[in-house]
Symmetry: C2
Subunit: 133 residues, 2 copies
DNA sequence: CTTATATATGTTATATTATTACATATTGTT
DNA sequence: AACAATATGTAATAATATAACATATATAAG
């Protein structure tokens, strides 16, 4: 009926939920997603959270931790790295994924006091976007 | 009876909750805080959340967004900047505030595509701590 | 000291976000 | 066909956070 993870395709629920997030101009919250996919037969929170978990795992979407909201990946490398950076406008809540190779290089090479490096991180910048300034 | 914000002292509830967080070896969650301060007369979630909000605002504590938990500031400059960085062990959940002037300088000077700078940010690094490696 | 204003507290109820537990179905593999 | 792994369905509940309203306390001004 449909193809599975070996080819990295999405399952039915994952596809429905990814499509919704991907076409949304703004990050979506889990229960707002639930409300929007009920006509497609997804009725329970857990169905949404399970799909979200997998999509995050695959790097197709990211969670904006400070907002409990989900956004489609706007880069190409996140599937591998789980290294994410966003700018968040505190006025209008516009959220953009930052793709800066110098930033990602700097952070991937950053060493803490113990000399430890971290390939996985999440950075959220806060300020005012172009429009709101 | 007690002194107020002009001298930046804490109110009764703020002090109780700050003391608890400050002496905790690990970040605390709101309802765990609530449970621990009920003997001191703080009975409702809202009392905890209000104190937490103020303490975060003052820079005395920080919220670990990916964990919904609160940790006392381990630096000295956070009261001003709201620019925070943490390392999180995914094995044992040990969380440490990073104080690296090169990191904070790099991030404070980082410009996005639109040339925008951000003095406020939150960075969470994930990996394994010394013990767990 | 009195009044006004702002800030903090107390209390109940409720909203929002996320997971546990268990049953069933589907997929990919042998 | 049989098996194991993954995905789905469903109900109940746990965990996190806020709204609304009443009261109290603290600082500032007159
Ligand atoms: Zn991405
Ligand atoms: Zn804006
Ligand atoms: Zn700090
Ligand atoms: Zn560890």
């Amino acid at each position: 009926m449909r193809r599975m993870h070996k080819e990295n395709n999405l399952t039915k629920n994952q596809q429905i939920i990814f499509d919704l997030i991907d076409k949304s101009p703004e990050p979506l919250k889990a229960y707002s997603i639930l409300f929007n996919v009920q006509k497609k037969g997804i009725k329970a929170p857990l169905q949404v959270y399970r799909a979200l978990d997998k999509l995050v795992e695959m790097g197709k979407i990211h969670k904006i931790e400070s907002r409990n909201a989900f956004i489609a990946c706007q880069n190409s490398s996140c599937q591998v790295s789980k290294a994410t950076a966003f700018s968040i406008c505190e006025m209008c809540e516009k959220i953009t994924e930052i793709s800066s190779s110098s930033l990602s290089k700097y952070l991937a090479n950053f060493k803490d006091k113990d000399g430890m490096k971290y390939s996985k991180y999440n950075l959220e910048f806060f300020g005012l976007c172009k429009k709101c300034r």
